[in-house]
């Protein structure tokens, strides 16, 4: 073999091994970083974390019960407001949309999807906090809903579109009206994908911090309704991690681990649902 060919062969071997290294590095980073988080979080989390309120700075102990409840509140609000709107919008886009208007809506939804979450926070502040004169879970839920709607709309549309046209035609041929077809044939056929999209969307907004910073604020107390400043898990993590007190760091680790596990579990569940759905369809 000529020298040039030796060179080409070696180069090929080296470069391809490098790509393997890249892949291994990428996955290792995942395991290292998140493993470190889980390790620290595991050492720090205790029953108090889930049940007690935070203590004043410098004192040890306490927990994040209010942050957990607060997060549930904001996410719940966002889900109740955002999922139906997104779902309906998605149905419009896939079933009823004309050429131009649907294109416009689709474009706007993608636009909204790409807006940095801090800018959404600015908008929610101007629209909800300023008129209400108070930071609130309502404002936080509003900001999160704004993020949830375009995600849900696009994923609903995508999965509705993937239902074969033959299903629709069959139903229509049997005399069903369009909306009946959608409600009883198409949506059930696509429901796994739609549910997956919804779960992933909710998991995503549950971890968002930036839009909550100046909408729902912070609180050291258990939330008393939706119109007062409310603590939330991601915001608490931020303030605890950037403070000097060791005990607060400990709590940041614990909260980070809890949040991470919730988000990852939701993601894994969603993917499993989807995978099983595809297998069934085949």
């Amino acid at each position: 073999m000529t020298l040039r060919n030796y060179w080409r062969k070696t180069l090929s071997y080296v470069m391809l091994s490098l790509t393997g290294v890249c892949a291994v590095v990428a996955v290792c980073m995942l395991f290292l970083l998140l493993g470190y988080l889980v390790y620290n979080g595991w050492r720090s989390v205790d029953w108090d974390f889930f049940t007690k309120l935070p203590k004043s700075p410098g004192e040890t102990g306490g927990g994040m019960a209010n942050a957990i409840v607060g997060s549930v509140q904001s996410v719940l609000l966002a889900t109740l407001a955002g999922l139906p709107v997104g779902f309906m919008a998605g149905i419009y886009l896939s079933e009823f949309g004309g050429k131009t208007f649907a294109f416009l809506i689709r474009y706007m939804a993608d636009l909204l999807n790409g807006v940095p979450s801090i800018v959404i926070g600015i908008f929610a502040y101007a629209v909800v906090v300023v008129p209400m004169h108070v930071n609130s879970a309502l404002a936080g839920g509003f900001a999160l809903a704004l993020m949830l709607i375009p995600i849900t709309a696009r994923s609903t549309e995508q999965f509705m579109n993937s239902v074969p046209q033959t299903l629709r035609e069959g139903a229509l041929a049997l005399g069903a009206s369009k909306w009946k077809t959608i409600a009883t044939v198409v949506v059930p056929a696509a429901y796994r994908g739609i549910a997956t999209g919804m779960i992933l969307g909710v998991a995503r907004i549950a971890g968002e911090t930036a839009p909550l910073l100046f909408t729902s604020g912070t609180s050291n107390y258990m939330s008393s309704g939706f119109t007062q400043p409310t603590a939330s898990l991601p915001v608490m993590i931020y303030y605890r991690a950037t403070a000097p007190w060791e005990d607060w760091h400990r709590q940041a680790w614990a909260a980070g681990m809890v949040l991470l596990l919730l988000v990852l579990l939701a993601n894994i569940a969603a993917r499993l649902i989807l995978a099983r759905g595809i297998a069934v369809q085949k």
């Binding site: 203590k55 004043s56 700075p57 410098g58 004192e59 409840v69 549930v72 509140q73 719940l76 889900t79 109740l80 906090v129 300023v130 004169h133 108070v134 930071n135 549910a195 604020g217 912070t218 609180s219 050291n220 107390y221 258990m222 939330s223 008393s224 309704g225 939706f226 007062q228 400043p229 303030y239 950037t242 403070a243 000097p244 007190w245």
Partner: protein, 338 residues
């Protein structure tokens, strides 16, 4: 369907948990400087007055003033007294209530340094102006004879948010350094010549604690609680002092005698022999007219408690209590709240 059921159940649970008792909820926001003691006070006050919940958000004096002005909180807190322009925005002129005295210390992190360093005003100004770049600069060695200062670059840390602590610190630097006064000035948010920014006293101490060869200005309690080293500072009378109960109280002594009626005063760089140069009052910003009767009762109650029982907690947390004459005048001001 099943999903809706779960959502509904969860929603009901949340509503049940949250619409628990009808307590008076009072929102406050502001200075990070007194956050440790306000946290303690709120905890202790709640034992005496359980149906008032005071939620204090430690976001910095700048944020406190802004939220207080916008009405998104019931009262504010600041280490910088409000300026005339800021007060002019109110229909009813707000009141300032000094709560405690505190000192701002130059806290640093030098691995292996066992002695407490001495800082001259020129050194501090030089460091923050970016002119003194290394720890073993002649200005520092002059003040610390015999101490082996490292040849490392100083990592300067300041506040990134609108801070009353920054105001007091820059107010002091403006008084001792004409160059600082003309180049930078004093305010809650200045254009820092060098350094990184941390959010809140918490953020600055967090950064200094974990960054070798760094220096930051923080309220005394932050350095104490986190076992961080802090230095001596030379005062106007030429003495090197550390911030503590006596030196901070001494700084307020002269000011207490001619305290203005609205309690807005600066006590940095006082002439007293044992006065710590970067001392300050910190204030609660209270509206002069509170419409909600329940909130008014709770706030007034808190103010009274703060001036009497509250003062007892200052020592253990590194703050100094208010001078007696100031307390007496504040009690009179409470009566003026409509």
């Amino acid at each position: 369907m099943k999903k809706n059921l779960w959502l509904g159940a969860l929603g009901a649970l949340v509503v049940l948990l949250t619409v628990a008792e009808a307590k008076v909820m009072i929102n406050a926001a502001g200075a990070t400087f007194p956050n440790p003691i306000y946290g303690k006070w709120i905890e202790e006050f709640a034992k005496v007055n359980p149906d008032a919940q005071i939620n204090y958000q430690s976001i910095g004096s700048g944020g406190g003033i802004r939220q207080f002005t916008e009405g998104t909180v019931d009262f504010g807190a600041s280490d910088m007294p409000m300026t005339d322009e800021q007060i002019a925005k109110f229909k009813n002129k707000p009141m300032h209530f000094p709560t405690v005295l505190g000192g701002i210390v130059p806290s640093y992190n030098i691995p292996g340094m066992t002695q407490d360093l001495k800082f001259t005003p020129e050194a501090l100004a030089g460091i923050y102006l970016g002119k003194i770049k290394k720890w073993n600069d002649p200005e520092m060695s002059k003040a610390n004879p015999g101490v082996k200062l490292p040849d490392n670059e100083i990592v300067v840390v300041h506040r990134s948010d609108g801070s009353g602590t920054s105001f007091v610190f820059t107010d002091y630097l403006s008084k001792v350094s004409p160059e600082w006064k003309s180049k930078v000035g004093s305010s809650t948010s200045v254009s820092w010549p060098v350094g990184l920014g941390g959010k809140g006293n918490e953020g600055v101490s967090g950064v200094v604690k974990q960054t070798p060869y760094s220096i930051g200005y923080v309220e005394l309690i932050y350095a104490l609680q986190n076992k961080m080293a802090y230095g001596f500072l030379r005062n106007a009378a030429g003495e090197y002092l550390k911030a503590d109960l006596e030196s901070v109280t001494e700084a307020a002594a002269a000011a207490a005698k001619d305290m203005p009626a609205d309690f807005r005063v600066s006590i940095t760089n006082q002439l007293g022999k044992k006065a710590y140069p970067i001392s300050t009052f910190t204030w609660l910003l209270i509206p002069s007219k509170i419409d909600d009767a329940a909130k008014k009762k709770a706030i007034v109650g808190f103010l009274h408690w703060m001036l009497t029982d509250g003062q007892k907690y200052t020592g253990s947390l590194g703050y100094a209590p208010l001078p007696k004459s100031v307390v007496a005048n504040e009690e009179k001001q409470i009566a003026l709240i409509k």
